[in-house]
Each structure stands twice: as structure tokens, then as C-alpha cells.
């Protein structure tokens, strides 16, 4: 497999995963706000905080209200972290990798892109936004399913899984970050009262509520949720599970050098995070650290497989 193709496919998977994650995030935040009483100090602004895009946002918009934030995160093609931009980048990457993937995968991404462009204006309206986001989520799942069912689980597939899981681990850490932020910033009793609702929504954002219930048999509480989403070995969106998937792919790939060792270290690091004895602020530091380590892993992958020295 060409190094250039490997890179494009890896990014394709990252962008599709990112598209899905943005859709989840907005969806869940919207639900959360509907559950909370008016006046609780929680707003749309938090969504741009976890994406670290506050500065870019205020360069374009004045007020961080629902209309502006959703427009920015979903439909703004000048912001490269938006859903539309991610989907466009995914389409460009698959358009230039069609020789490696089943036709249906291309058609799926192309259709989704056409759909998004056609319905951009509708996201201002809550009811239409729900429909829009659901369509996108379904589309991303179809894409994943198509590849899993139609494609040989070969090198290209390994790069798809790599990209998907790095992006996914990153997003899970950001969602946990958001939860910690909400809890540390606004510890008024009123918010505490709604803590359970908050954690339930975090689980929902990662499609993990049902699995949590089956696993923990307890009412939803912050510490258990954190541990579940950080360390569970079976939940597809937990950080540990993502790292295991990454590890599996990397072991299969040729010339992997010392990357497997580094991944073991990362896995140990995640497994030994002690949520009980950390403050919310410390936890945010740990999550930050995790994100940086994932970024480091990305650089290792780039150097190992995408940049081939010819002589």
C-alpha cells in the first residue's frame, strides 16, 4: 500500500469520526440544555471551550448563543473544525482513495456530503437540527458498517481503524473534559442537583448509557462514569478500548519499530489514572496530558508510515 494512500485513508477515517463526534456533541448538549432548568449556569459556550475554538469563534461572531454556536460548529465552512468542513475533508480524502475502497463507501460519503450541503440552513431550527444530526450519525455508522462488511481487513483497513480510534479517544477525552469543566466551574448547589443528569448525558454522548447500566448495576455517579469511560476494556468509545484497538492495528502493520512499546506505556498510563484522589482541576490536567500523548502517537504514525525516505 502506498504511503500517500495510507495517509489519506487514515485522515478519511479521522474526518468521518470527527463528523460523527461533532454531531453527537451538539445533539447531546441540546438534550442536556432541555433537561436543565432555565438560569442554570450552563450554556452553548462550553461547546467551543472543549474544542479549544473560542478565539476563532469570537473573531466571527459576537454572541455565544445557540444559533451562532450551532451554525459555527455545524455549518461554517470557513471554520475547519466544523461538521461541514470535516465532512468535506473526508469526501476529498475518499475521492482520492477510491482505488482502495468499495464504491459504496465513496457513494455513502458523497451522499452524506450532498445531504449536508443541501440542508445546512435547516440547522438553525431545533426540530430540523435533530433530524439533520440523526441523518449524519446514521450516515457515519453506515460508512463504518460498509467498510467492516465489504472490505478485506487488510493494511488499508488497519489505517482506517487507526485513524478512527485516535480521533475517538481524543473526543472521549474532550467530552470528559467538558464534564469536569462544568462541574469545577459552576459548583453551585443547583448544578450539583443536576449532576446525575449531566453524567447521563455524557454517557449518551458516547452511546454508553445502556452498556454502563449493564456493567455497573448502580445509579449513575461521576466517579463510576469516569472510570468506565477511561478504563473499560469493552466499551468501544472508552479510552482504554480505543488504545487497545490502536495497539492491535499497529502490531499488524509492517516495520512498526518501537511504537508497540510506546502504546503499552500509554495503556498503562490510562489504566492507572486514579479518579478518586484527583480534583476536577487535576483531572483536567490529566486529560490534557492524554490528548498530548495521543498527538504524539499521531506523529509517530506519520513518521513511520507516511513519510518514506527514498534513499
Amino acid at each position: 500500500m502506498l504511503s500517500r494512500s495510507a495517509e489519506r485513508i487514515y485522515w478519511l477515517a479521522r474526518y468521518i469520526e470527527r463528523t460523527e463526534n461533532i454531531a453527537r456533541l451538539v445533539n447531546v448538549h441540546m438534550n442536556l440544555l432541555m433537561d436543565l432548568p432555565k438560569g442554570v449556569e450552563m450554556s452553548w459556550r462550553q461547546l467551543i471551550l472543549i474544542n479549544a475554538s473560542e478565539q476563532i469563534f469570537y473573531e466571527k461572531y459576537n454572541v455565544a448563543n445557540e444559533r451562532n454556536i450551532t451554525r459555527f460548529l455545524l455549518a461554517d465552512d470557513t471554520y475547519q473544525g466544523s461538521l461541514l468542513s470535516s465532512l468535506t475533508a473526508a469526501r476529498e480524502n475518499i475521492r482520492t482513495s477510491r482505488d482502495l475502497l468499495p464504491d459504496e463507501a465513496w457513494e455513502q460519503v458523497n451522499e452524506m456530503h450532498l445531504f449536508a450541503k443541501k440542508n445546512l440552513e435547516t440547522v438553525a431550527n431545533r426540530r430540523h437540527r435533530v433530524i439533520f444530526l440523526n441523518e449524519i450519525l446514521k450516515g457515519c455508522q453506515r460508512f463504518t458498517g460498509l467498510l467492516s462488511g465489504y472490505m478485506s481487513h487488510n493494511d488499508p483497513y488497519a489505517f482506517i481503524r487507526l485513524g478512527r480510534n485516535i480521533e475517538r479517544a481524543d473526543m472521549t477525552s474532550r467530552i470528559l473534559d467538558l464534564a469536569s469543566l462544568l462541574l469545577s466551574e459552576s459548583r453551585s448547589d443547583e448544578v450539583r442537583q443536576y449532576e446525575t443528569i449531566l453524567w447521563m448525558n455524557v454517557l449518551k454522548a458516547l452511546n454508553a448509557l445502556l452498556m454502563y447500566r449493564q456493567q455497573k448495576h448502580s445509579r449513575v455517579n461521576g466517579d463510576d462514569v469516569l472510570n468506565f469511560l477511561l478504563k473499560d476494556q469493552n466499551l468501544p468509545r472508552s479510552i482504554s478500548c480505543c488504545i487497545s484497538e490502536i495497539s492491535e492495528c499497529i502490531t499488524k502493520l509492517p516495520n512498526n519499530g518501537d511504537i508497540p512499546t510506546k502504546i503499552s506505556e500509554l495503556q498503562n498510563y490510562a489504566q492507572t489514572i486514579n479518579t478518586k484522589e484527583t480534583t476536577q482541576a487535576q483531572l483536567r490536567g490529566i486529560l490534557d496530558d492524554l490528548q498530548n500523548k495521543l498527538g504524539g502517537l499521531h506523529n509517530e504514525i506519520t513518521n513511520k508510515w507516511f513519510l518514506i525516505i527514498t534513499e
Binding site: 500500500m1 502506498l2 504511503s3 500517500r4 494512500s5 495510507a6 475521492r95 482520492t96 477510491r98 482505488d99 482502495l100 464504491d103 465513496w106 457513494e107 458523497n110 451522499e111 450532498l114 493494511d155 502493520l253 509492517p254 516495520n255 508510515w305 518514506i308 527514498t310
Partner: protein
């Protein structure tokens, strides 16, 4: 209710499907009967379905414009163009004959030049050809075939005869559209494929792959084939990706390849460097290798010609094959067939005046307003004059251009090229069409069943190129013998 055929005119040119508004030719009886069973609304629905399929399948081509490159949906007409298999078998034979002779000619040009020495063609034509590559002299590609992939343009004049308009031997494109057109037609008119015996075309990528492996430098073990594309901004990128995918070959850009000191070509893979045996290159000679041709080329691969000349990699088409893709050389193809194959040409050429010949030039300048004048080396319908459709000013400015560089121009009578019914606003109207079959030659020779029918969508227009407002149709070769 008005018929979709109302006022259908068959007096402008030979119509491929109709004798008149009221009478279909035998090849199109079944299609016409079927169309008559649909109402306008049904037909519009099919048209919309086709457009949707094209959008979703992402079939596109790129148009260069001042505002940057735009990806446009492929313009497609749902009414197929039909040819009787009995006629097609003769055309197929003629196409094989023609490409065989052309390959003999190219081998000869880079070898003994007997054709010229025996006085069949002035040597000046080869020497002054932009596409003659002196670097290729003495090379002997496998099976003595230089042009492995050829797209020959055919048109039918009002006499009902199919003429060869030109042979595209450099990097002919369009075959992916031929394949996609069939897929769309099957979606839009599935019923018709039950009742009519239409020859299948979807085995083209298999034949292409067989041909490519047949020209590999070695025949043992796995043969690595790659499609070399200029990249995603090329107008035919869609096709390059499509063919690579269909063949299971690697789609590579110049940067993915490297020629090492052993004069072998390698591609940069996640496993390190991997050897490449056959390259189906979709890059013009000029850009192929900055070491030999244009120094500023960033699309090609440094050292590729070295590797090819050392016999370590096969290139299709071979560098230098374009010497026969020249509208002046075209005029000599019938003579090549007689000379090299000792046969009479099966497919006729369009009468051609060579401006390099003083007698011809005189005639051309006197009759400019009636003729079509073409530059010898352009493709895509650029830089030509269609006399009867041009203003006096355009004719006069062309007169000067030709006189400055007569070698580079040829003229042909303006043909009244055939028409086929084309859907225009829920009504059928005749539009001019041509046909580009694709011929593969390696160890064996293969011709597609039909080809890409291009249609000039603008009323009265004779220009079928997609870059200039042309579209395309599915092409059916149908077996009628049992009917």
C-alpha cells in the same frame, strides 16, 4: 397528448435510430415501442433518476476556468444510441486492422523507416512532428506494440458510412464514462435489458489488466501494475481512479514513484520500496520524465525513461507512440494498412487536405468557408475552425494562422455527422453524435463492444467534447439475428 417524437426531424443528417418522425429503423423498433409506452411524466422521472444516480455516484469531470477548477456532474442523455451487431463486427475488424497497422508504422518510424524510404510518406512529416521522440529510436517494446490503448473517433456521414475521424494514441480518455453510462442506463431502464440482446461491456477493466500484464518485462510471479495520474486536479482524475480501482492496480502520482540506481521503478509503500513492473501512464510524454523531457515537470518521475529503456518497466502507451497521433500522419493510415498488412482498409478515412502540400494548401485557402480546419496536434476540440459556422473575421484570421505554419494544419470537408434522438425538455430532438470505441493491443487485440457515444447537446452544434458543452449516451450493440 402530444408524442415525444412530435416534429422530430431526420432531414438534417443521417439519424441513427429513425427514418422519420413516424418510422424507426429496425435496430430501434423495440426501444421506440417501449418509449411510446411511457408518458412524458414517466420519461421525466427516468431522467431525474439518472441525474440523481450521477450525483450520488459522484461521476464528474473537471472544467478549467478562471475561477479555478470546478467538478461538474457528467452530462448524460438517457436515450441510448444503438448499432446492429452485424455492422459492429465489421467496424471491430476495421479498428483492429487499423491499430495493428499503426503499431507497425510506429515500430518502423523508430526502426528502419522503410515506409519513408519506400516513398510512401515524406520523411519531413516525421522529422517535424512534435511527438516524434528521438530518445525512442531503436527501442523495441514487447510484442512490437507502442500504442496499447487507442481511442478511435468514428463519425457517420449522411451517406450512412462510418468514417475514422482520428486515432487517439497518447492518453485517450472516456472509457470510464462508457462504463458508468451503462450502469446508469441499467438503473433507469432495467426492463429493456430483459427484452433486448445488448452486448455487455463491463469486462473492459479485465481486458485492460490482461493487456497490461501481457506487456510486463517478466512473466514470473506477481506483476505489479500501476496507473500513473497527474493528480486530483486533472480533468480525467475520476477515470484514473476508477480504472485503478476496477483493476485492483495502484493509483500512483509521480511523487509516489522513484527510480533507483539499479534503473528499476519503485513505489513508496508502508512496507518500504516496492518494485513496479507495468505503468499505465495517463501523463503526456512531455511531463513523463524531467531528466529527458520537460525539466520543469513535477508530475513525472525522474529516471523513468532510463528504467523503460533498460527494459525494467513497461509503459503503456510507450513514449513516442504519439508520433502516429498526428492529423497529418492520419492521412497516411490507409497507405500503412496496404503497406504493412497487405490488406485494403476496412474503415475509410475522411478525405484530408494537408496544408503542407502546396496544391492542397491552395485548395484549402480557396475553400476555407466550407472546410473544417484542425491543428495537427491538439486534442479536446481546441483551436479548430468550422468554416460553415464561422464568421468572416474568424475565417480570415485562420487564413493567416495556416499560412504561417502550414505543416501544422489539415482540412477536411465539413461532414454532416449523424444524429440520434436526445431528450430535450420532455421532447426528443436530433443531436449530432460521434463514437469513440477503445482498442487494446498487447499480446492480443480487444475492442470494446461499442464505445463512448458523445453528443453535442446544443442544437445544431457539431462539437461533442465535454469541455465544450458535449454530453454522452450509452451505446448499445444489439444482436438481432434471432429476432
Amino acid at each position: 397528448m402530444k408524442s415525444i417524437w412530435e416534429n422530430y426531424k431526420t432531414d438534417v443528417a443521417y439519424d441513427e435510430l429513425m427514418y422519420s418522425e413516424f418510422q424507426s429503423r429496425p435496430v430501434s423498433h423495440q426501444l421506440c415501442r417501449y418509449l411510446d409506452s411511457l408518458n412524458k411524466e414517466d420519461i421525466d422521472k427516468r431522467k431525474t433518476a439518472a441525474e440523481l444516480a450521477i450525483m450520488e455516484m459522484g461521476i464528474s469531470f473537471t472544467v478549467y476556468s478562471d475561477e479555478g477548477n470546478i467538478d461538474r456532474a457528467w452530462p448524460f442523455d438517457i436515450i441510448p444510441r444503438i448499432i446492429d451487431a452485424r455492422e459492429w463486427r465489421i467496424i471491430e475488424k476495421g479498428l483492429k486492422q487499423r491499430l495493428t497497422a499503426l503499431n507497425c508504422f510506429i515500430s518502423d518510424v523508430y526502426g528502419e523507416q522503410a515506409f519513408i524510404k519506400d516513398g510512401k510518406m515524406p520523411g519531413e512529416i516525421v522529422n517535424s512532428s512534435k511527438n516524434f521522440r528521438k530518445e525512442c529510436v531503436g527501442m523495441k517494446p514487447k510484442h512490437n506494440v507502442w500504442a496499447n490503448i487507442c481511442g478511435t473517433d468514428l463519425v457517420r456521414d449522411k451517406d450512412g458510412i462510418m468514417y475514422v475521424l482520428e486515432d487517439n494514441l497518447r492518453v485517450p480518455s472516456g472509457v470510464s464514462y462508457m462504463l458508468e453510462n451503462r450502469i446508469i442506463t441499467k438503473r433507469v431502464f432495467p426492463e429493456l435489458f430483459q427484452d433486448i440482446d445488448i452486448l455487455p461491456i463491463d469486462d473492459y477493466p479485465t481486458h485492460l489488466h490482461d493487456m497490461l500484464t501481457s506487456i510486463a518485462p517478466h512473466q514470473n510471479g506477481q506483476i505489479n501494475c500501476a496507473v500513473l495520474t497527474p493528480g486530483i486536479y486533472n480533468s480525467a482524475y475520476f477515470e484514473h481512479a476508477y480504472l485503478a480501482q476496477q483493476m485492483g492496480a495502484q493509483l500512483v502520482e509521480g511523487n509516489d514513484l522513484v527510480v533507483n540506481d539499479d534503473d528499476c521503478v519503485y513505489m513508496k509503500t508502508i512496507r518500504g520500496l516496492e518494485k513496479v513492473d507495468v505503468i499505465y501512464r495517463r501523463i503526456d510524454d512531455d511531463f513523463l520524465d524531467p531528466e529527458v523531457f520537460r525539466k520543469d515537470s513535477t508530475l513525472g518521475v525522474k529516471g523513468l525513461m532510463r528504467a523503460w529503456k533498460a527494459g525494467n518497466v513497461a509503459l503503456a502507451n510507450a513514449p513516442g507512440a504519439g508520433v502516429a497521433d498526428d492529423k497529418v500522419v492520419y492521412a497516411y493510415v490507409p497507405e500503412m494498412i496496404r503497406y504493412f498488412l497487405n490488406e485494403e482498409p476496412i474503415l475509410p478515412n475522411v478525405p484530408t487536405y494537408l496544408c503542407s502540400n502546396p496544391d492542397h494548401l491552395e485548395y484549402v485557402l480557396e475553400h476555407l468557408a466550407e472546410l473544417v480546419v484542425k491543428p495537427a496536434n491538439e486534442s479536446g476540440g481546441y483551436g479548430m475552425l468550422v468554416g460553415p459556422h464561422a464568421t468572416t473575421k474568424e475565417v480570415e484570421s485562420f487564413r493567416e494562422i495556416i499560412q504561417k505554419d502550414p505543416r501544422n494544419y489539415i482540412a477536411q470537408p465539413t461532414l454532416s455527422i449523424s444524429t440520434a434522438p436526445t431528450l430535450c425538455k420532455s421532447k426528443l430532438e436530433p443531436r449530432h453524435i460521434d463514437l469513440r470505441p477503445f482498442i487494446l493491443q498487447g499480446q492480443d487485440t480487444f475492442v470494446t463492444a461499442g464505445g463512448l457515444t458523445r453528443v453535442a447537446l446544443k442544437k445544431g452544434s457539431l462539437v461533442v467534447n465535454s469541455s465544450q458543452g458535449g454530453g454522452s449516451k450509452d451505446t448499445w450493440i444489439i444482436n438481432m439475428e434471432d429476432k
